[in-house]
Symmetry: C2
Subunit: 439 residues, 2 copies
Amino acid sequence: MLASGWRRFNTEAGQFPSNKQRFIPGSGTYPQGFTAGGLHCGIKKNGKPDLAVLLSDRPTTASAVFTTNQFCAAPVQFDRHMINQARERDVRVVRAVVTNSGCANAVTGKRGLEDTQSMSEAGDRLVSRADGSLAVSSTLVMSTGVIGQSLPVDKIARGVDEIVLGPDHDMWMRAAIAHMTTDTFPKLLSREFNANGALFRMAGITKGAGMIHPNMATLLGTVCTDACITQPLLDKALAFAVARSFNAISVDGDMSTNDTIAVLANGAASHMAVTSEDSSEYRAFRDSLTEFMAELAGLVVRDGEGATKFITIEVAGAQSFADAKQVASTIATSSLVKTAFYGQDANWGRILCAVGYAGIPLDTAKVNMAIYPGDGSDPLHLVQAGEPQLPVDEVRASEILKQEDVMVRVELGLGEESARMYTCDLSHDYVSINADYRS
Amino acid sequence: MLASGWRRFNTEAGQFPSNKQRFIPGSGTYPQGFTAGGLHCGIKKNGKPDLAVLLSDRPTTASAVFTTNQFCAAPVQFDRHMINQARERDVRVVRAVVTNSGCANAVTGKRGLEDTQSMSEAGDRLVSRADGSLAVSSTLVMSTGVIGQSLPVDKIARGVDEIVLGPDHDMWMRAAIAHMTTDTFPKLLSREFNANGALFRMAGITKGAGMIHPNMATLLGTVCTDACITQPLLDKALAFAVARSFNAISVDGDMSTNDTIAVLANGAASHMAVTSEDSSEYRAFRDSLTEFMAELAGLVVRDGEGATKFITIEVAGAQSFADAKQVASTIATSSLVKTAFYGQDANWGRILCAVGYAGIPLDTAKVNMAIYPGDGSDPLHLVQAGEPQLPVDEVRASEILKQEDVMVRVELGLGEESARMYTCDLSHDYVSINADYRS
């Protein structure tokens, strides 16, 4: 039968590139009350999975951060409205997230908005069937893939009707796989946290990154947690976490029309409730979310188009987090710095140059810079007090730069604040993927 | 003799890449009162020309625009001080520019500043010998090449003593060749202008662009004119022209420690005097300078590292020049847009996306976009009133995009202001040049 053919597909890690296997979990501990699933509903021509559903067995507190691109796609407009409505009325409404890959439903005009409505209603019907209740406006929608094409909403609706959901690792992996566009591996993460003895869990799915065939793709991320948290505190924790995770990664500096990062908290872990910003529970939740999302966002960088290296840029000694972030971001988005890493070249001049044009007032004589290898061995100090440490120890530089994980640490000597950015190198393959995909 | 060996080198266009020959002039009309020359003084290990001198037979009004990078190199600090002194005292002092390639004298501390002083004094001695007079603080200096290494000032001083200068095309070409670092061809331009019957001339030399082996290079440009103009009006005209020329080009978005664009006006064309901002002479001078510098800056883009295309981004219908420039710049620096051009792909989605995140408030329903071929034939309209014109006419798109010169025109529909940016594509060779130069 066609329908059962839709449901079954291979979720084994072995089908993905061998150098990415270590980022694909073989098991997980998932938040209570959530189920997941994925299938091929017919959007992608190549028959690969293209529809994912995440469902909570009770209403969630939901928050999201969206692209600031003014050509934001229909699902972004739709979700923003739904979450704002929930905020204003202070009610928990979100029960599900329906995500499709293969079509971004972007630059699709009025029809695009109608299609998001249909897609969300398909999710609502699923919720109603699961509950026996009448669910209305309870389903967020996300889309990624080609822009300027309309969604095949009938296929999506039929897929949502047919989908099999479950709480176990394999079903979460199906959902993660169905998020992929040019991603080379599925991005799924789950963790259990402990706040003063109260256990709660998070599971997250994301997809990268880079703007992809044939027009552009997008950054999507959904984190489900069984913690209980109020809307204002979830909004606040998410803003904090995103600034240090999904907004701290750069693959090519372009900002897509569809970028969406959502968190759904269903409160099924009954001992973990966050109700006050001054509580240790809030700090535990915020910091757990930040750590979790930084790791999740890191997977996107690992799969940056053509990436061969994972580069952490840490800027310390700034007067503010914003200053530190700006300097880190300037370094992380410099094509010259990124090509130098691809070439495994200790090009301190390019990094120092990026620091110099980042737009933050400097005392250049206070600037230090070093590179740290991923294996935890000694760093190599390249600039001290604004002066290059010449000649560069090329042997040590080469040892460090041939590692997959490298950190650049810049100290500004102006204050106590720091920030990190995560980026990848700029390779021949990046150019090939983005220039030659038609051939 | 070694000295005469220094003086002689091949200036024939035939030695440069065949696809760049049409940008190398075979003759020129040069401003009166200026002489030029170039030689190899021993900075470059490969024996190529590395020292250029431009000399005026009388003091000039000099203005310059410098890098805003806070790690600005010693020659930038030195020249800025000299020109500010001239401004404050309202005197004409600059007689010469001494430029070396092969060493940027950047991040060289106190010694670097002392070396610029020595380099400038060598120029002053040359001026004194030419005049029989005592010249002091009359020589601007520019350096480009490796950073973090000290200047071999003795070699430069000896080179300035030995150099042969002349007013003819071949001598200007020597000076242009001596500016080159990884430039594949010399960048020299000369033009004669007519303002209400008064003739004046401009000659300019520039060098690119991209940050080059082994650490970074720089953008240098010097324009000599025999017009007569006051300091405040030259400052004003230069600011106007640079915003529309050298600050309207992007190769890789990085801003070097040494970037310097200078204009020297010696007044030898006695009928062309610019003394009032309201005069037609001022407007003629300003517009001539802008047109001249846009063409000169274009040569840098033509020689962008790995560039195969010259792309003009024109943004019209903005509420201000700054808004139009910001949108144009965002498009011009998008790695995705640049790789799409390399791949000859009519990727309107990437361009529209860059418009959307440029940070300027838009009415997305008013945005139009088209691509124009360099041969002047019909454009292809890709977006009208915010909607993609689907399906894209791929045959026509391919005809347009296989041309070397392509213009993207975006209309915002918000006002009357427009701006242009000039950029190149992002190719495999860009990555190779910037990643692999050690191998």
